[in-house]
Structures are given as structure tokens and as C-alpha cells.
């Protein structure tokens, strides 16, 4: 009897052991699943990959799932024979082609404060001497017309958005046209001069470098790649700025009184080539260096400026902050222009183009016919913009055509409509072409005339 009792007890123990064992195994299993879900398990994969495999096994069509990327194309795989031979541009991944030899530059000393370059204190004298020695490279190309260099640029790699490069191309064509009409030189930058000042800050080292390398340039006009000229006939009133060194679009009240972060816009501005400009660039730069400096500066700016969201320091907010905090030093030579659209926010302008064409004419530059339409926030080259893609791209087409019509009318053409790429004739060919004057007088405008004694 003891034997059977012992056996019973044994069995009971065994049962209990099995029970507990099952519980333990169950909990262990759950733990493994949770950990695998959170950390992944290397080649054993994650639950996401499991799902992928299950989907692929069971689904008929292969689809590439892109959960977070908004502006990337979801391509269907083409079963082309030609792709095998390598002549097909669609299947080529260009980012594999770029190779950076010769290593990285020496990392700058993190303890030293950032500087754009060695301090120059006598730039006005150096430049003045140079101009005297080089009379052929005068800084004025006409009695009231300074030599201007328009600077713009974009990244050297292809855009992530498949049509981004096309809009960059249209934008540069637009600038080429304006600059040709107005005798302005153009510099398109595709080089990142300083890796620390990347993004919107990249213009600072570039501007400094260009000012110092081109003493013949009187005014440097920075313009963002997403800004387009929409008034081809408007000439900037250079005389107005003869005592000023820095012209931006903005409002004095919004900057100095309200401290509003969009009180001015650094997407399109004029900077004179002089010592003062070098000094303001040096004062502007410290918030720029990527990383901790920029993030910390961003916090300072958000707390100091009205309406600024939380993000890293940008050049525009930094300029507002600089003007507000060091008003006595800089404000005298800064002109915040708002009588014409040196920068025109696209949101309030693009729907009115037809109305403008009906009621007004080019040459006004202001709300009736804006000089510049600036597509802030659209970011056509990147993946994410702040506005719906369709609105941005379609409106950029309209703005481009609006400006292009003024160029085409010189030659007797116009776009069929603001949304159309096709052109139609507005006047027939004639056998006396020189008697025909274009309506806007842009073929041979006064601001392009050269001094009579040219040789």
C-alpha cells in the first residue's frame, strides 16, 4: 500500500511538475516573442519579416510596401529584356555610382568656436585698391547700375523626388531669363563648402567666399532654388539702397517690435560687397554649426521669437534674433523692403495670376504683379514638404509659365494657358522683323544698354 501511495505521490508530484513546467514554458515562449518583436533576432528575423514572408507566399502580385515615405515612387517591376543589357535608365541606381576618394577633411576642433574664416578687417581698402588697379572690372556697369551676382544652388546629388530635378531645371531657366534681361551675372552652386554648415546655412560660407573672390561684384543677390521671377520687367531700385548694405523683404514692426520669426525672409536678399557684410556674416554664423550648437540655438530662438516652432536653428530666425538683439550695431544699414515682392510668399499670390494678367502689367513688382514668387515649404527636391504635393507642383508650373510668357512674348509666342506646356503664336512672322516692337520692351530694355564708348 505504501508502494502505491508513494507511486501516487510521485505521480502527483510529476503532474504538478508538468503543470508548472507547462506554465514556465508558456511564459518563456511569450517572453521570447516579445523580445523578438522589440529587438529583432538577427537572422531569425522579426515579426514584420514573418508577415512579409507570409504575404509573399500567399499574394499574387509583388508590391513594395513603403510605410513612411511619401514622395518616393512605388514602381512596379518591369519585366523588360533590355534592362538586362544595362541600357535602361529606369533601373539604374545612380547613388551607387558616386565614389568619394581622398578621405574626409580633418574634423574641426570642437572646443574652438566656429568661424567662417580668418578675420579680415580691411576689406574695404583691399577692394578699393583692387578696383583702382582693374578699371576693366568696374563695380558699376552703368550710371546707376551696380554689378550684381545672383547666387543660387542645389544639392549635387539627384533629388529624392523623381520630378524635383525637373523643377530645379525650370527654376534655373527662369533665373537665366531674368538675369539675361537685366545684365546680372549668375552663379549656380552645387558644392557644399563646409560640412558643418549644411542645409539652409550652406549659403553663408558660399556668400563669403564669393564676396572675397569677386571684388568687382557690388551686390550679391542670394536667391533660393524654390523662388521664381514672375515679373521680368521689374528692375530693382538700386538707387534706393545706396546707403544700405543688406536688403531683405520684411517689415520693421514685425522684426523689431513683434520679434516675429517670419518678420523677414532670407530666401531672397541683397548683400553689398563690403567690410560690414563680412562682419554681419561672422555675427550670423555662430548659430549654424550642425549638431549640439544648432539644436541649442534652436531652443534659444524658439523662446525668443514669436510664433517659431521647435526645430534646430535656421538662418532666417537667427537673422531676426541678431537684428533684434544687436539692433544698434546693424539696423542702420539693413533695409527691410516691402514696397515690392523681393520675396513673395506663394500662398497668397498664385491664385491671382489670371486676375493680374487682366488688370495689370509687368514692371510693377508688387502685389499687383510680384517680382518673385517664393515657394516656401514646398521642397520639391525632397521627400516631405509642408504642403500637398499636387498644389505645390501645379502652382510652380503656373508661376513658371506666368514668368515665361513675358519672355516668349518678345518672340511672338505665349503659353496656351498657365497650366500648359504648349505655346501658341501671338503674332505672325513678318518680313520686317525689326519694325515689330515687343509690348513690354524687353528685347532691348534701357537697363541693359551698355555705355556708348564700349571699346
Amino acid at each position: 500500500m505504501t508502494e502505491s501511495w508513494f507511486g501516487q505521490r510521485r505521480r502527483r508530484q510529476l503532474q504538478r511538475f508538468l503543470q508548472k513546467g507547462k506554465l514556465t514554458i508558456l511564459c518563456l515562449f511569450l517572453t521570447i516573442i516579445v523580445l523578438r518583436g522589440n529587438l529583432g533576432a538577427g537572422k531569425f528575423g522579426t515579426p514584420e519579416t514573418d508577415i512579409e514572408e507570409i504575404r509573399e507566399t500567399f499574394s499574387f502580385y509583388r508590391k513594395r510596401v513603403e510605410p513612411r515615405r511619401v514622395l518616393e515612387e512605388a514602381e512596379t517591376i518591369k519585366n523588360d529584356d533590355a534592362s538586362a543589357s544595362g541600357n535602361n535608365y529606369a533601373t539604374f541606381d545612380i547613388n551607387k555610382m558616386f565614389v568619394d576618394e581622398e578621405g574626409d577633411d580633418i574634423k574641426p576642433d570642437p572646443n574652438k568656436p566656429y568661424s567662417l574664416g580668418p578675420k579680415i578687417s580691411d576689406w574695404d581698402e583691399q577692394r578699393g585698391d583692387w578696383l583702382k588697379r582693374n578699371p576693366n572690372f568696374s563695380n558699376f556697369i552703368g550710371p546707376d547700375k551696380p554689378r550684381v551676382l545672383l547666387v543660387t544652388g542645389s544639392a549635387p546629388k539627384p533629388c529624392e523626388n523623381p520630378v524635383g530635378d525637373h523643377y530645379l531645371l525650370k527654376s534655373i531657366k527662369n533665373k537665366i531669363d531674368y538675369c539675361r534681361l537685366h545684365g546680372i551675372e549668375l552663379f549656380y552652386n552645387m558644392a557644399l563648402l563646409d560640412a558643418e554648415m549644411a542645409g539652409f546655412w550652406a549659403k553663408l560660407p558660399l556668400i563669403r567666399k564669393l564676396l572675397l573672390s569677386h571684388p568687382e561684384v557690388e551686390f550679391l543677390w542670394w536667391m533660393d532654388s524654390d523662388a521664381m521671377f514672375t515679373d521680368m520687367a521689374y528692375e530693382v531700385p538700386w538707387e534706393r539702397y545706396k546707403d544700405r548694405n543688406f536688403v531683405m523683404h520684411g517689415w520693421n514692426e514685425m522684426v523689431y517690435d513683434e520679434k516675429n520669426w517670419i518678420g523677414l525672409n532670407t530666401g531672397s536678399f541683397l548683400l553689398r560687397n563690403c567690410q560690414w557684410s563680412l562682419d554681419i556674416l561672422d555675427a550670423w554664423a555662430p548659430m549654424g554649426p550642425k549638431g549640439k550648437v544648432r539644436d541649442e540655438a534652436g531652443k534659444v530662438l524658439t523662446s525668443a521669437l514669436k510664433g517659431r516652432p521647435v526645430f534646430e536653428a535656421d538662418d532666417q530666425s537667427a537673422m531676426v534674433y541678431l537684428l533684434v538683439t544687436e539692433k544698434d550695431k546693424w539696423a542702420e544699414k539693413v533695409y527691410l523692403e516691402n514696397h515690392y515682392y523681393l520675396h513673395g510668399y506663394w500662398g497668397i499670390l498664385v491664385d491671382k495670376y489670371e486676375e493680374m494678367m487682366e488688370n495689370y502689367h509687368p514692371g510693377l513688382g508688387d502685389h499687383r504683379w510680384p517680382l518673385v514668387t517664393h515657394f516656401v515649404g514646398c521642397k520639391p527636391c525632397g521627400k516631405f514638404g509642408d504642403y500637398p504635393v499636387e498644389r505645390c507642383l501645379k502652382q510652380m508650373d503656373r508661376a513658371f509659365n506666368f514668368g515665361d510668357n513675358q519672355i516668349l512674348q518678345m518672340y511672338g509666342f505665349t503659353h496656351k494657358s498657365l497650366a500648359s506646356r504648349r505655346v501658341k503664336r501671338t503674332r505672325n512672322e513678318t518680313s520686317n522683323p525689326l519694325e515689330v516692337k515687343d509690348d513690354l520692351g524687353l528685347l532691348h530694355p534701357a537697363f541693359k544698354a551698355v555705355k556708348v564708348s564700349s571699346s
Partner: protein, 456 residues
């Protein structure tokens, strides 16, 4: 899900283990009958609780990691999916050739083959007209600072390329041209409009050139350049003095042209036209093979029959010009300079691999095979879907040519690319407090000022 049921099974299995005996050899008295009924229920209840709890935890964990598809799809995924579809629709619409105005004007008037195509009404006194205009407008002279006024004309189609890589290289090519033209005081016209529906494609340059000549009498030379041609010698300048007695400058080889009648004897991807009556006449005689449709196809057959090595396809402007030169030699050739002492057009295949050698041995300013003036990527067609050459070779070569030229521009600023296929740059000269000494040395405009200096 499988794991769920597995768990339930496991649980069920586990539960079963606590229920009455699994062991067949046991006596009839089961474990459960040892326990009072209440305890039994209590135990079952506990088991069920544990089952439910574990099942719940499993569901949560699985939902968190995998998601359950359409059972409980998260809102942001749906929104993103919608955005992607919407974006793709917009992009497809932009890239297609559809135009909102196609609905208004469904068909242009059909081309009438009985009427000979003309670029415009015949002008016969352009030289006099132009001269008197220049006299009346002294502030728009045709010679500025001793140099003839040149207008560089290039262009591309108004719609996006079939592939975004194409647009990117169009952008780089125009930057390259902007750089060269800034250094040499040349103006640029970038055309993106089809001025004449019939002369589309490579023929589109003809009405454009004519239109620009007539609208800009102050321009002395019109320089057409293809969008796939890049400047690779930023210092070299076209020696216009050499062409005083000529009206057209085109790269080619006279023996290939007249002896062999080869269809690639000259290249119309980069050539200069003087703004004069002769040029207008040549354009008028050149145009008739261009109009799209039966005319162009028929002309193509004539050209293939008469020119050596030409494949069978519709008439192109280059073959048509060669045919014109050969068949009307006496009329035109005394004013055409067939240039080959420098690469006004340089076929890319023989040049791009030698850039490193050139950098080592030679210097910019030569313009010839030692340092080519222009590298022209014929046949690559990055704006289309397929080229005549392998894509990798074409794009790598275009990148190399672009960087080769860009290095010459960046030199003034103290930078250089990190290799000919790199988009990154490195410093080759430290910043200094006296930047102007380098400007005097390195600015291309200053060095050429010294060497030229001839008056008009």
C-alpha cells in the same frame, strides 16, 4: 493567428493535464474525486483565468509587433498609403505628355504636303536692315570690349524626362554652361518651348535660331549647343578672329565630308552661325527636310541612300546639312569653316577615360585632344529611357566630365572634387586674410584679359 491557436492549444493541453487522469493504468479513483467539488470549480476557474490572461497578452504582443492587417489597421498607415497613391498620380500626370489644352484644341490643322514648308516669310535685305538698326542703336552694339557678342542657345523638352536621372544631368549641363558663359561674357538662352510643331525633335533648333537672329540684331554670333554637350575647357575661347570671312563654324573633317560623304562628317551639336542674310538663306534651304511625317521619312530614305554609314531612320538635321553641303558645295562651302583644330564638338568616348592623364600632363586653354574644349555625349540620351550605350558608362562619364570642368571653376575658390566621380569637395587652399592675390592669379577672366586686348 497560428501562434494564438497554438497557445490556446497549449493552454488547452495544459488544462487537460490538470483534469482527470491521463494515465490509463491508474485505479478508478481519480485525483479530482479526491478534491471537493468547490475546489474543482475553483481550479477550473483559475485555469480559465490563466488561459484568458495569456491569450490576451499574446494578442497584445502580436498586435503590437505585427499588426493585424485589415482587422485593426492603424490610421496613419492608411493615410500614408493614400498620400503615396495621390503623389504617384500627380507625378504620372506631370510626366505624361498630356496637356490641359489638348481638350480645347483637339487637333491642329493637318500638314499639307503640297505646300512647301517655310520657316517664315522670305527676308532678303537682312544685312542692310541689321546694319541700319545697329547704327540707330549705339547702346546695343554687336561688339563689346572688342569682342563680338555671342548668344549661346540650348534647350530641352518642356516635360520631365522619362527618368529623373535625365533631368539631373540636364541641370548639371546647364550649370556647366552657365559657368563657362559667365567666365567669357556670353549670354545664354535656354529654350523649353516647341516653337513649331512640325519641326520637333532635333529640328527644333532651326526655327529657334532664326527667331533669335531676327529678334536680336545686336548678336553677332549664335552658338547652338546640345543639352548633352559639356564644356570641359573653361579657359579656351573660340578664336573668332579666325572666322572673319566665314559665316558658319562647325566641327568636322573635310575629307569625311567630300570624299567619303559620311553622315557623321560634321556635327550639328555645337556650331556657330553669324547673324546675317547668308545664315537665313541657309536655314531656309536646310528646313525642308524637317517637317514631321511623310516629308521627314521620305527625306530620311534619300539621306540614307546618299550618305555613307547612315542607318535607316527619319531625316535628322545633321545628315540633311551634310547632304546640303555635298550637293550644293559651290553655293555654301566658301563661307563654312569646317573646324577640327580644337574640339568644338568632342565625341565623348575617346576622351573621358583620359581625364586623369590630361590633368597630369597638360593644362586648360588648349581646347584640343590634350584638353578638349567640349565633350559631347552623343548617343547617351539620358533624358529618354534607353540610350545607345550602357547606362553606367554614360552616366559615370558625364559625371566625370562635369567634375573635370567644375574643378576648373572651383580652383578660384580653393576647392576641388574628391575624385572625378565624387559630389563632395575638399579644400586645396586655406582661407587667407588677403584673398585678392589669388584672385589676380587664378580668375580666368583676368588671365584672358591680358592675352586678348584686341580692338574691334
Amino acid at each position: 493567428m497560428g501562434q494564438e491557436s497554438f497557445t490556446a492549444q497549449k493552454r488547452g493541453g495544459g488544462a487537460a493535464a490538470t483534469l482527470p487522469t491521463t494515465n490509463g493504468g491508474r485505479p478508478a479513483r481519480s485525483v479530482s474525486s479526491l478534491l471537493p467539488r468547490g475546489r474543482q470549480i475553483h481550479k477550473t476557474f483559475n485555469n480559465i483565468k490563466i488561459t484568458i490572461l495569456c491569450g490576451f497578452v499574446t494578442i497584445l504582443v502580436l498586435r503590437g509587433t505585427i499588426g493585424l492587417g485589415n482587422l485593426v489597421s492603424s490610421e496613419s498607415d492608411a493615410v500614408n498609403q493614400h498620400l503615396i497613391e495621390e503623389t504617384n498620380r500627380v507625378l504620372d500626370e506631370i510626366r505624361s505628355d498630356k496637356d490641359p489644352d489638348d481638350l480645347d484644341n483637339p487637333s491642329e490643322p493637318e500638314y499639307n504636303p503640297n505646300v512647301t514648308y517655310t520657316l517664315g516669310p522670305k527676308i532678303t535685305n537682312w544685312d542692310q536692315e541689321r546694319k541700319s538698326w545697329l547704327d540707330r542703336n549705339p547702346d546695343f552694339p554687336n561688339y563689346v570690349n572688342g569682342k563680338a557678342r555671342i548668344l549661346l542657345v540650348t534647350g530641352s523638352p518642356p516635360n520631365p524626362c522619362d527618368n529623373s536621372i535625365g533631368d539631373h544631368y540636364l541641370l548639371k549641363a546647364i550649370k556647366n554652361k552657365i559657368d563657362y558663359c559667365r567666365l567669357h561674357g556670353i549670354e545664354i538662352v535656354y529654350n523649353m518651348a516647341h516653337l513649331d510643331k512640325e519641326l520637333a525633335g532635333y529640328w527644333a533648333k532651326l526655327p529657334l535660331i532664326r527667331r533669335l537672329m531676327l529678334s536680336h540684331p545686336e548678336v553677332e554670333w549664335i552658338w547652338w549647343m546640345d543639352s548633352d554637350a559639356l564644356f570641359t575647357d573653361m579657359v579656351f575661347e573660340v578664336p573668332l578672329k579666325k572666322y572673319d570671312g566665314y559665316n558658319m563654324v562647325i566641327h568636322g573633317y573635310p575629307d569625311l565630308l567630300f570624299d567619303q560623304k559620311s553622315w557623321i562628317a560634321v556635327n550639328t551639336g555645337s556650331f556657330l552661325f553669324r547673324n546675317c542674310q547668308w545664315s537665313l538663306d541657309l536655314l531656309d534651304v536646310w528646313a525642308p527636310m524637317g517637317p514631321k511625317g511623310p516629308v521627314r521619312d521620305e527625306a530620311g530614305r534619300v539621306l540614307t541612300a546618299n550618305l555613307k554609314g547612315r542607318p535607316a531612320f527619319e531625316a535628322d538635321d545633321q545628315s540633311a546639312l551634310i547632304y546640303l553641303f555635298i550637293s550644293q558645295r559651290n553655293v555654301w562651302m566658301d563661307k563654312v569653316f569646317v573646324e577640327n583644330s580644337y574640339f568644338l564638338h568632342g565625341y565623348w568616348a575617346g576622351l573621358v577615360d583620359r581625364y586623369e592623364e590630361m590633368i597630369e600632363k597638360y593644362h586648360p586653354g588648349l581646347g584640343d585632344e590634350r584638353w578638349p574644349f567640349v565633350t559631347h555625349f552623343v548617343g547617351c540620351k539620358p533624358c529618354g529611357s534607353y540610350g545607345d550605350y550602357p547606362v553606367e558608362k554614360c552616366l559615370r562619364s558625364m559625371e566625370r566630365a562635369f567634375n573635370f570642368a567644375d574643378n576648373q571653376v572651383l580652383k578660384l575658390y580653393g576647392f576641388r572634387h574628391r575624385g572625378l566621380v565624387s559630389t563632395k569637395i575638399k579644400r586645396i587652399r586655406n582661407e587667407t586674410v588677403t584673398p585678392l592675390e589669388f584672385v589676380d592669379q587664378l580668375d580666368i577672366r583676368h588671365s584672358e584679359q591680358g592675352s586678348s586686348g584686341s580692338q574691334s
